[in-house]
């Protein structure tokens, strides 16, 4: 009996139940983006409609919040992508005094409670009287993303064969040429994965943004502010579209990886 439970269908059913639990709120979010609701509350099913997809950008400040989120995520992706990749390259490639300190700082930044990071950064901005807004959000997002990019790139760098670079040098390529033509293409998958991770972390961040946003509103902050008055269906639609893009990227990525193997 125990064997049957452990080995057979039992665990499989259990796994699917957990997956169902994970997916239910997403399904509800998607479903109520198609709800033909008329009042302010999108809580009871009124019938199927596509009208919210047509009226997606009718709430001005919600659209602005989404635009802010996308801009901040792109800036974070670029800045944290570059700075984090450089750190990852240094840590994966060179042995140097201070690398242990860098590792500890990065581990601290990854494992630190978000609320503590957000609160301490706000403490700095308040003390220096820095006005809060778009750029303080970008600063905070780059801050918490750098370590994730660095760890991703470091892992990639460590798997590389150094003899390829030595070969390039033996063939007369200078330091920069070697980097551009040999090293960069080899670490690029890591850089890309790290940068995409930074984008994803940025666009979803609520806690640290909540502390350092001032009057600027991002997509998660707008939703947070709307919870008391009711979430309009446009939010469901935007959430659905972001979800769909994420699934698409993951599936394409998976197919490409499979083909390569």
């Amino acid at each position: 009996m125990r064997q049957g439970l452990l080995r057979g269908r039992g665990l499989q059913i259990y796994t699917w139940l957990v997956i169902a639990w994970l997916v239910v709120p997403i399904a509800v979010m998607i479903l109520f983006g198609f709800n033909d609701t008329h009042g302010r509350y999108n809580t009871a099913w009124q019938g199927f409609t596509l009208k919210w997809y047509g009226k997606l950008f009718e709430i001005g400040d919600l659209t602005q919040a989404l635009v802010n989120s996308l801009l901040i995520a792109v800036l974070t992706m670029i800045i944290a992508g570059v700075l984090g990749s450089l750190i990852g390259l240094a840590l994966g490639r060179y042995r140097f005094r201070g690398s242990a300190t860098m590792n500890v700082v990065m581990f601290a930044a990854i494992s630190c409670a978000e609320i503590v990071m957000g609160a301490s950064l706000l403490s700095l901005f308040v003390t220096l009287a820095v006005p809060l807004g778009f750029w303080t959000i970008v600063i905070s997002h780059v801050m918490f993303s750098i370590s994730f990019v660095a760890v991703t790139v470091r892992a990639r760098v460590m798997t590389l064969d150094r003899s390829l670079e030595e070969a390039a040098r033996d063939l007369g390529a200078g330091t920069w040429t070697t980097f551009r033509l040999v090293t960069l293409p080899m670490i690029f998958p890591g850089v890309l994965a790290g940068s995409m991770l930074a984008f994803a972390l940025s666009i979803d961040d609520f806690v640290i943004t909540n502390f350092n946003a001032g009057g600027t509103v991002t997509f998660p902050l707008w939703i947070w502010g709307a919870t008391r008055v009711g979430i309009p269906p446009q939010v469901n639609v935007m959430g659905t579209l972001i979800f769909a893009v994420g699934v698409l990227i993951a599936v394409v990525n998976g197919l490409v990886a499979r083909r390569r193997n």
Partner: protein
Amino acid sequence: MSRLRAALTPYALIFPGGLWLAIFFVIPMIVMLSLSLQSGSVEDGYAFTFNWHSYADGLANYHDQIIRSLLYGLAATLLQIILGFPVAYWIAFKGGNRKSVYLFLMLLPFLVSFVLRTISWQFLLSDNGILLGPLKDIGLLPDGFRVLATPFAVIAGLAYNFLPFMVLPMYVALERIDPRVLEAAQDLYASRFQTFLRVVLPLSLPGVFAGVLMTFVPATSDYVNASVLGGTNTTMIGNVIQNQYLVTQDYPTASALSFTLMALLLVGIFAYARALGTEDVLEVAAR
């Protein structure tokens, strides 16, 4: 010259990112510590007075919320282990060539904004909503029954939101187990249960450890779940800190509480690491 350049290269590489982390991560911690020792108010300005009162007052006024946060964080973490371990086990050993598909399904919630999926649960669990409403209509549940505003709702929400962080490291540890080790155990006449208890479980512990590290901290310090799914008597320390910083703007108390939370989490993590006998916390967590 070129040797000097080679020696300086790694420093040049880490400089910009390292500087960013120094200015916006390390220094703010020091600023927050200093702020927690100051006295004054927003109107009159602050003076550095080594005022430990903020800590004493914070603990005196908010020890309920602190203890509650630790309990909720612990409960959510345990719930995640119970929910996640069998799943990680099944995917690792029975997932076949669809392992990545199952893992992808486990990660789906991360493609929806954290705030949005918590609100989705609020909607699902609302008092007369699509789950409880019909059950009340047919009389299976009393009219006054509610899930929202209970500790259960908050803990389940926390477990939901961070579950993938628990499953992934456990899966990685289980997946690494060499099947020959399991065969060896059976050749030595271990029953299936003994094999699990004395081979699989110990080998999976690093994964469980990493998972706990990745879920206990965000769960304990969270305030979104308590705000959206909880009520007035499920307030966590994160709610207090957020309120003190952004609404009351009592910065000394807020930063003292924030520091207390950080200290508690650090002590908890290190005590836990020692108890488990893990030599190098960094090593495990770095994976």
